[in-house]
Amino acid sequence: MSDAEQASDFDPTTTVDEFEPVDVFPSSEDMDLRPGADNCYKCTSCDTSCPVAEVDESFPGPKFQGPEQWRLKRGEDVDIDDSILSCSNCMRCDDACPSSVPLSQMHNTARGEYVEEHMDKLSREYLRNRMLSNYRTLASIGSKVPRLANFVMGLGITSVLGEKIMGIPSERDVPEFATETFRQWFKKRGGSKVTNPDKQVAYFHGCYSNYNTVEVGKAMVRVFEEFGYEVLVPKQQCSGTPMFANGMLKDARREAEVNVRELGKAIDNGADVIASCTSCSMALRQEYPELFDIEGIEDLSEHTYEAMEFLRIHEDLEGTIRESEVDPQAFAYHAPCHARNQGLDRQAVELFRELDGAQIEDVGDSCSGISGTYGWKSEKYETSMKIGAEMFDHMEHAEGDVGMTECPTCAMQMNHGTGYEIRHPLELLEEAVAN
């Protein structure tokens, strides 16, 4: 049993209104991470798996950020090192550690503490990070007037102002809002076309499939209906992924409370929870129980699946794919770090190899470098692109000139670095099975 699986008593979210460091962190000794720190035997597996340490010499690597910093913090007068903000929360160190040291949990708690105690709440960096973390809020406003928002965001002046005022790199194209959100589409079609009280799944679409890539959400619904599932779309907030990565644990907890409650109702009625974004499923499965103590949070963790993973386990997905066919097409597939951490990094490649018409090539183990909001910060842009260079190179050498990945921000980075169109595995699966 990994230490990472136990919720720590550390709760940075208790007092919200009047910020009192002493109250927020009554005693950092409460972080029950000692066994994890003690398990580290300094084999450096985490350091050699860290995409940031490889390209940024000012970043001391996960071994320092995790067990070493945790130990240093036991002493008086030792503050969290500000390099914690350079961790991209790719969580590869978790996957690397042969001793199951809960590295990302240590990083998340340290980052939360750093942001709470040491970051100026009026600084540009804090405000920018807060805005990026709360993409859902931004998107829900933008998507009310999608055409206007897309027009404004596409203006050169907007991009210059974004760089100057907010620290958003002008090199990046802000993703377009869909003219109809996934939820609007789902409501308009009258919900699920299948009614089946015995086979229900609750779809956690996350923010991006709802506001931006609604075709992924539609594909998910059609594929699951094809397999006889009734798809429910409960009320939901952001999974919290960008908030963990920015140390905004109060925001994350606020969202988590809604998600645990609303998805919990569906679970109580016999449904399992399906996500199409691997960072969303990662948050619900691992980070929630690691960081928060909310009633029902373990239940949610145990009932959450990535979409294709669910079908692989519960249906004969491979058999179905073997009997299917699509128009000839070739993909350069990149496994998101968060898919890797759920043991899903080979899933799409292995399944689609069996699909007539499709060619798929894994472009390797490297990280895309964007890590959600990380690559959306001017000061991290260069690091982000340096990390991504290996993936871009491998994509260009792959036969396919269409990219494929489960993660929406990896998709942005893949597109940004190569100009390729990027698709989600569910879209190809829809083409294969739902016609």
Partner: protein
């Protein structure tokens, strides 16, 4: 029942990877289930077969020494053919990126402690450092690297009686680094020849390193560096250094982080993929279902949810005490982590170790005992399960660290376990 293969191999190190490839060669569908990064990634990358057997003198020909090993030694159980087959399979996987396949004899390779290690196969990057060669050598170290001191290394090598002159020099690493990420960062810089500031100028990392080392080359005809000359493009880095310095350049295997180990792990992964083996990585096997002496499925913990993976044959390649295939505790004694296979060990914990740190340590021999088809045996000498085989560090009966036989044992047992597992599947198919 959705996840089903012919053969499931548990563990993705040297033994697991080779067993999976071997099984796939028989035509079986194979899935490799791995949990965390393998200990192979912090190993030296050297492939040793048998370096020592109880004496301080290294063994020249490991094959000639196999007969002297005790009956319970994995080599004695698997047989010499298995050892040779294992090396053949390895040679096929790594191609010309490794040397040593031209002879049965051990090569002597300098290590970062200043000793020479008898080994059967070595990375091409280490070849020019071989100790039987009498060309004068320069060893380069870097200030601030605590694990490696070039002067001390050179002194140790000379003291061990090598037939060449060796000098050591401490250089400074071009660029600035944090302690913990120095090695990985510099390796990456060399790999992509990224620009660094050196002596007030901006230049490629390779050029900066060349300029730093050049004044010290002197009469040396070969120059050794700690093994971090690049990652993916290590040949290019070495070639650039050789061309500009006018000498042969080699890497000296060092402790973690170990690029030779990482590169080998990456090569094995590619080979496993090319053999058509499927991979589930990042998820531990936490249990199993058995019926009538046969394992039906293993239970994979997928972030807190238990998913059964079915197969006809299973290979256990989870490693030893360090790899965590073997566990120990005050109450439980010494246990095999997944199937609880029998591991012979004294009941009294104080008999697990010898008080001399470098004595013959009983714990080093801990591991499952196997029959000639690599099936783990119970205390009564019958197979634990008809369809479970073991490979690599989880097998006991030898102190592979002291005798320098770890890789050879992994290869020999893996080819037998993998091949037998594959063959059994084919037999079942014929009989059905």
């Amino acid at each position: 029942m959705a996840i089903r293969e012919d053969v499931i191999v548990i563990g993705g190190g040297l033994a697991g990877s080779v067993a999976a490839i071997e099984a796939a060669e028989t035509g079986a569908s194979v899935r490799l289930v791995t949990y965390k990064k393998s200990t192979l990634r912090h190993a030296s990358g050297l492939i040793d077969v048998l370096g020592y057997n109880g004496s301080d003198d290294p063994i020249a020909d490991p094959f000639a020494a196999l007969d002297d090993l005790p009956d319970e030694h994995p080599y004695s159980v698997a047989g010499e053919t298995a050892v040779r087959d294992g090396l053949d399979r390895f040679d096929e996987i790594v191609g010309d990126t490794y040397g040593g396949s031209h002879t049965d004899s051990n090569a002597l390779i300098p290590t970062f402690g200043g000793t020479v290690k008898p080994t059967a196969r070595y990375p091409a990057a280490a070849a020019a450092g071989i100790a039987s060669d009498d060309r004068p050598m320069l060893v380069v170290g870097f200030e601030g690297m605590t694990e490696y001191n070039a002067g001390m290394l050179a002194d140790h090598l000379e003291a061990s009686g090598v037939p060449f002159d060796v000098e050591g020099v401490e250089c400074s690493l071009p660029g600035t680094y944090k302690n913990d990420s120095r090695v990985t960062r510099f390796a990456k810089r060399l790999d992509i020849n990224e620009s660094v500031e050196y002596e007030g100028r901006t230049m490629g990392a390779r050029e900066a390193l060349i300029q730093e080392v050049e004044p010290h080359v002197g009469d040396a005809e070969r120059v050794g560096f700690p093994a971090f000359l690049g990652d993916e493009h290590t040949d290019e880095v070495r070639n650039d250094l050789e061309r500009e310095l006018g000498v042969d350049v080699f890497e000296i295997p060092m402790g973690p982080p170990s690029y030779p180990g990482i590169r080998l792990a990456d090569q094995l992964k590619t080979a496993v993929d090319e053999a058509g083996v499927r991979i589930t990585a990042g998820s531990p096997v936490v249990g199993f279902e058995a019926d009538d002496g046969e394992i039906q499925s293993v239970t994979v913990d997928s972030k807190g949810r238990e998913v059964p993976y079915h197969a006809e044959e299973f290979v256990l390649a989870t490693g030893g005490l360090v790899g965590k295939g073997i566990d120990s505790g005050r109450e439980e004694g010494v246990t095999e982590s997944i199937f609880d296979c029998h591991i012979p060990h004294p009941e009294d914990r104080y008999e697990w170790f010898d008080e001399q740190a470098f004595g013959d340590q009983p714990f080093a021999h801990f591991g499952v005992r196997v029959d000639e088809t690599m099936r783990p045996l119970t205390a009564d000498d019958v197979p634990e399960f008809d369809n479970l085989r073991a490979a690599g560090g989880v097998i006991g009966g030898a102190d592979t660290v002291a005798e320098k036989s770890q890789s050879g044992v992994s290869l020999a047992t893996a080819v037998v376990a993998g091949e037998r597992a594959g063959e059994q599947v084919a037999k079942h198919e014929v009989s059905q």
